[in-house]
């Protein structure tokens, strides 16, 4: 049950967040240690402190390089991507008042993929920033399409999800078409990357961009957390509580599109994180967003890092696409929510 927001409640939340942070650090360390060949946790630790110039421990250069250049950046990006997608899910579920809302289900991730692929194939600019901008345009196009198909906010919540299904099918088809017919298929990465996501190939510059975007989004969302609470009983009810509904919706949809676009342009479309995590977090800290948003972000980070570890060890000598792992957890969860959301007799 949602604890009261008294001082005791705040202290409990702080403790919970602190413990989650410790778990996250441990998960990232494990993700860095585990791989094709395992590296001892102490070596991981010393490699990081070496790189940060804190120690000068004698560590095989190859292990140090694997830890720093390959695995740590990958684990941290996984954490940020998980946090970002979980935030998106929490926001969309509140704004659309639909337990199934999240960027992947609504086709926003698919739209971002299409946007990013267009930028690569058409060769507009280069680098992660223009890729993100393309993805952003695609994510917004998907939002627009879903809004158009579901006829704004006036139709029932189920229409939004149906519109999302249509949008994701359309944009996934477009992505597949563009990738398979483009002359420079190598450059556009493979279809699997865009449809199911992958943390292979992420590097430190990606981390810096993503860190800025996730922190910015988290700050905006926390500032609007009270307004999100007011959406509990719908748009009109929020307006009667003094919330500038249109402005909040626009800003938060834009933040969601920005987060999704940045994440998708780096690691492809990863599904169901935004769906599963906010529900799990809500179960622990209750539905009020000042607590839910940070809790979702942290839980999402942990979930994604663990999912990445699983994707690398579940099949020998192979890395399973990350989206496969998240879907294996997410789809049963989706079914449970759908089942519980059926009209009560």
């Amino acid at each position: 049950m949602p604890a009261s927001l008294s001082k005791g409640g705040a202290a409990r939340l702080a403790l919970l967040l602190f413990l989650s942070l410790i778990v996250l650090v441990f998960a990232v360390a494990s993700a860095t240690a585990i791989g094709d060949y395992n590296i001892a946790l102490t070596t991981v630790f010393l490699s990081v402190t070496n790189e940060l110039g804190l120690t000068g421990a004698d560590i095989p250069p190859i292990e140090q390089s694997v830890v720093w250049n390959l695995r740590l950046s990958r684990a941290l990006i996984a954490a940020l991507a998980g946090a970002g997608l979980a935030l998106c899910g929490a926001i969309l579920q509140a704004l659309l008042r639909n337990a199934l809302a999240e960027p992947f289900v609504l086709g926003v991730s698919a739209g971002a993929s299409t946007g990013a692929v267009c930028v690569i194939v058409l060769g507009i600019g280069a680098g992660s920033l223009s890729l993100s901008l393309g993805a952003f345009a695609g994510a917004f196009a998907a939002f627009g399409l879903v809004a158009l198909l579901s006829n704004g906010a006036t139709s029932g919540p189920n229409h939004t999800i149906l519109a999302g299904v249509a949008a994701s099918q359309l944009f996934n088809a477009l992505t597949s078409y563009i990738v398979t017919t483009s002359g420079n298929a190598q450059q556009a990465r493979d279809v699997m990357f865009w449809l199911l996501g992958s943390f292979g190939g992420v590097r430190w510059p990606d981390f810096q961009l993503l860190l800025v975007v996730v922190l910015f989004a988290l700050a905006v969302c926390i500032l609007m957390a009270r307004s999100l609470d007011a959406f509990t009983f719908g748009d009109e009810d929020a307006a009667s509580l003094g919330v500038p509904v249109a402005r909040i919706r626009l800003v938060l949809f834009a933040v969601t599109a920005l987060l999704t676009a940045t994440i998708v342009s780096m690691v492809g479309a990863i599904g169901f994180v935004g769906l599963v995590v906010p529900h799990a977090a809500r179960y622990v800290v209750g539905p009020m967003h000042l607590r839910l948003l940070p809790a979702s972000a942290l839980t999402g980070a942990i979930f994604m890092v663990v999912a990445d570890i699983v994707s690398r060890i579940i099949a020998t000598q192979q890395t399973v696409p990350i989206g496969v792992v998240t879907a294996l957890v997410g789809v049963p969860f989706f079914a449970i929510i759908l089942y519980r959301a059926r009209p009560q007799a």
Binding site: P2, L5, M224, A230, F233, S240, G242
Partner: protein, 254 residues
Amino acid sequence: MSVVAENLRWGVRRKIIVSDVSLSVAPGETLGLIGPNGSGKSSLLRLLAGLRRPASGRVEINGQDIAGVARKALSRHVAFVQQSAATDTNVSVEDVVRLGRTPHRSALAGWSEGDEAAVTDALQRVGMTSRRTQAWQTLSGGERQRVHIARALAQAPQVMFLDEPTNHLDIHHQIEILRMVRDLDLTSVIALHDLNLAAMYCDRIVVLQDGQIHACGTPEEVLTPQLLKDVFRVSAHVDASADAGRPHIRFSAG
């Protein structure tokens, strides 16, 4: 606070729903809005509460045009209780009533003693203090309605708009809620279906038909057999002063 509407017009896609409505509610008065289905009661209520912008005309609350007042500032003294609020979120009674403090709090402000006092007082006034930590989903329709009125009270409003607050409630709860609203020391406008309840609890009644005001006055003045026939298409007998000087309507079965 007084509420004054001048020449309000509003419609959707060429269909006129509220047409040239002017009315005024005195401070502390309870005004009933009655009319057949589709007569524009809910829409008029939303225009008055500033939830919709009129196509033309203006609404003044306490002498100030609400078009020029920020949503949040307006919500500090105007509350709106919707017909049947619903949510899938697992919130507690207390969470819902706390939402009423939203317009009084800044984005990150802590929970103040004033907020706490407003919530406690609001819960007490609707008799839901003992249900404070109960899950909202487990409440009955009448209890939910009372919690929503408590939430509106926690807003500390001086004007309250209620859209058919007694819908789906048993007669005991209908009377209980209307008595409570009448006894509150604030200006209220209530859209109602039940004509006898409107007669019992409203100081004045506005009768809407096709988006226009058909009649306006005290229950005795307004609720006549002729009006009931013209507007509601029923034949009825009216006891002029059945209960404490209030008219009572008996509908004819024939």
